[in-house]
Symmetry: C2
Subunit: 129 residues, 2 copies
């Protein structure tokens, strides 16, 4: 799979894909004789995971640490789990904050609806009189 296809599939720019590879988040991706990347199934799975974790706001350096632990094999299970647990807590906290903001937004939008209604009513009155 070419970089363009991967880019389209996961909505990540080719620059971002190369950047992720450069910093060690994915790959190294195998290349054909003329140096062009060919993404394999396992690469795609890594990319999907990375994308998901990035959407969960996991910082890139933490993700890199995770990937490095992964490469070190079985003896890092505990550490890797620890990183994920930490991240889970962060995600839960963030969800809470977003829910709070959401409530507030709904409340304010509601207020605006009322104000707009009143404004329109008073305009109508003016028109009638």
């Amino acid at each position: 799979m070419t970089i363009k296809e991967v880019s389209d599939k996961y909505q990540l720019s080719t620059d971002t894909l190369r950047y992720y590879e450069k910093v060690g988040l994915i790959g190294p991706i195998s290349k054909n004789k003329s140096g062009i990347r060919d993404y394999k199934e396992t690469d795609l799975r890594t990319i999907e995971f990375v994308k998901c974790m990035r959407q969960a706001n996991m910082p890139i350096d933490k993700l890199i640490r995770y990937m490095n632990l992964y490469k070190e094999g079985n003896k890092t299970l505990e550490d890797r789990k620890q990183l994920l647990v930490e991240q889970l807590h962060k995600v839960e906290k963030e969800i809470q904050e977003l829910e709070k903001a959401k409530e507030r937004l709904c409340y304010k939008i509601d207020l605006y609806d009322h104000q707009l209604l009143e404004k329109n009513l008073s305009m109508e009155k003016e028109t009638v009189l």
Copy 2:
């Protein structure tokens, strides 16, 4: 209320508070004869709103636009509501993504627990034999 007190109350650094004021997100804050800020009740309410919207990842320039509309008064009700509705959608989408990431994290943590269990069991066996 001094800037330090506000900073403590809302967990925003004094630098951030001055920065918010400089870019027009809050204030201008009134100052005493020697130039020291004195935050009033209305300032605090604005700050709390700003903090909440920032936690909802509303970009600063959008927030500034909102504040400017607010200052323009009643005729901008519709536009302001529109901004909030947009932001609400963004927040809802983000919550969805975080929930997805959360599920994935839980799933992976579960897998790690199983793997760790197995690892420990096999170590015990080794110890016994």
